[in-house]
């Protein structure tokens, strides 16, 4: 934004060198601009290509995410269906068929047994347990589409109760105040 045409003071003494310098400065400016545009464009092309590929792979992600709630409903219905053997078999069949369709589009369930993994699971609460950081209960199953996590598994995680004698309390005051969400 600095004006390069405001060097009129020098112009009287050496008009030619001045004009040359000005032209050179301009040329450099344009060259720099061209380089920038070229770099921007290269980046843009590369990224657009990547985004296109991603779009193709995940175009259905939104729809599938919404359908997952229905899969959940099936699971709940089945959990609470007493007796009615035929009905249960039927509903289970529907559930499995729906899952088969979704799996054919690349959907897979996230394993939520064993150790808690923040890259796959979201911890909603904790419960005392023998060991730290194990998944104790799954509230909502998690799913992947391809290798991308569509929905993280919402889980309850174990915490080993602290040994009876708590360490010095005074040190922790920095952290405890940030309780709000």
């Amino acid at each position: 934004m600095t004006g390069e045409s405001e060097e009129s003071g020098v112009r009287e003494e050496a008009p030619e060198t001045d004009a040359l310098a000005e032209a050179q400065a301009k040329a450099e400016e344009y060259l720099d601009m061209a380089r920038r545009v070229q770099a921007d464009f290269d980046n843009y092309r590369r990224r657009t290509q990547k985004e296109n590929e991603e779009f193709r792979a995940f175009a259905t992600a939104g729809l599938i995410t919404e359908l997952l709630t229905i899969v959940d409903d099936f699971d709940r219905a089945l959990e609470h269906a007493d007796g009615g053997e035929v009905f249960v078999t039927g509903v289970r069949g529907i559930r499995n068929n729906l899952m088969k369709v979704l799996e054919s589009k690349g959907l897979s369930e996230i394993d939520a047994s064993g150790r808690f993994d923040p890259n796959l699971h979201e911890a909603l609460c904790t419960v005392e347990g023998e060991e730290d950081g194990m998944v104790a209960e799954v509230f909502q199953k998690g799913y992947r589409l391809g290798d991308k996590v569509l929905r993280y598994a919402k889980v309850k995680v174990t915490r080993k109760p602290a040994p009876a004698a708590p360490a010095e309390d005074g040190e922790n005051d920095g952290k405890q105040e940030d309780k709000e969400e």
Binding site: V37, D40, A123, L124, G133, K148, E171, G174, D178
Partner: protein, 203 residues
């Protein structure tokens, strides 16, 4: 011809962008599916098994690891307070640097080039200490912070309010995750001047 990224280092959420073809473009967080779209929560966590987590993964494990998880560290920037995670003390600058490092890495992956310069925004209400602490955090993260600019000024620039060449008064209302900032600025002769700023620093 190294490029400069712009960073919103927020209390609750952080994000970065870059000028491309004369327009700002958001740099998406590597985790993709964060609640805040392309931004990510300003969480840093140290796990029992020695991992460092930043952003969404840190937030997802926060409840299982309250002693190792740090959030809202921006509130402590510029103070001599330390934060403790798993018994180890860190300065607010160090924790902010972890967030900035993640941004740097995400930006480099996204752009396919090394990034070592950044502009970071700070609340209009930040004093010199807080601004210096923000710069220091950048330096720790390997970023040359070429400028700290006021958040409301950045917002006004994003809307191109500096392009109109007209003198005007601007009110910026910024309802964030952790703070509310309302700022009145005067724009004239290409310069933004903060006339007044207020709000709630602890939502």
């Amino acid at each position: 011809m190294s490029r400069i990224i712009g960073i919103d280092l927020g209390t609750s959420n952080s994000a970065a962008s870059i000028m491309e073809g004369g327009r700002p473009t958001m740099i998406p967080s590597a985790e993709g599916t964060s609640v805040g779209g392309k931004s990510f929560p300003s969480y840093v966590a140290f796990t029992q098994d020695g991992q460092l987590l930043v952003g969404e993964p840190a937030r997802r494990q926060a409840i299982t690891n309250p002693d190792g998880t740090i959030k809202n560290v921006k509130r402590k920037m510029g103070t001599s307070e330390k934060v403790t995670a798993l018994g180890k003390e860190y300065t607010p600058q160090q924790i902010s640097a972890f967030i900035l490092q993640k941004i740097k890495k995400d930006a480099e992956d996204y752009l396919g080039e090394t990034i070592d310069k950044a502009v970071i925004t700070a609340p209009a209400s930040f004093d010199d200490n807080q601004r210096q602490a923000t710069k220091d955090a950048g330096a720790i993260a390997g970023l040359d912070v070429v400028r700290i600019i006021n958040e409301p000024t950045a917002a006004a620039l994003a809307y191109g309010l500096d392009k109109g060449n007209t003198s005007q008064k601007i009110l910026v209302f910024d309802l964030g995750g952790g703070t509310l900032d309302v700022t009145i600025m005067d724009f004239s002769d290409g310069v933004f001047e903060v006339l007044s700023t207020s709000g709630d620093t602890h939502l």
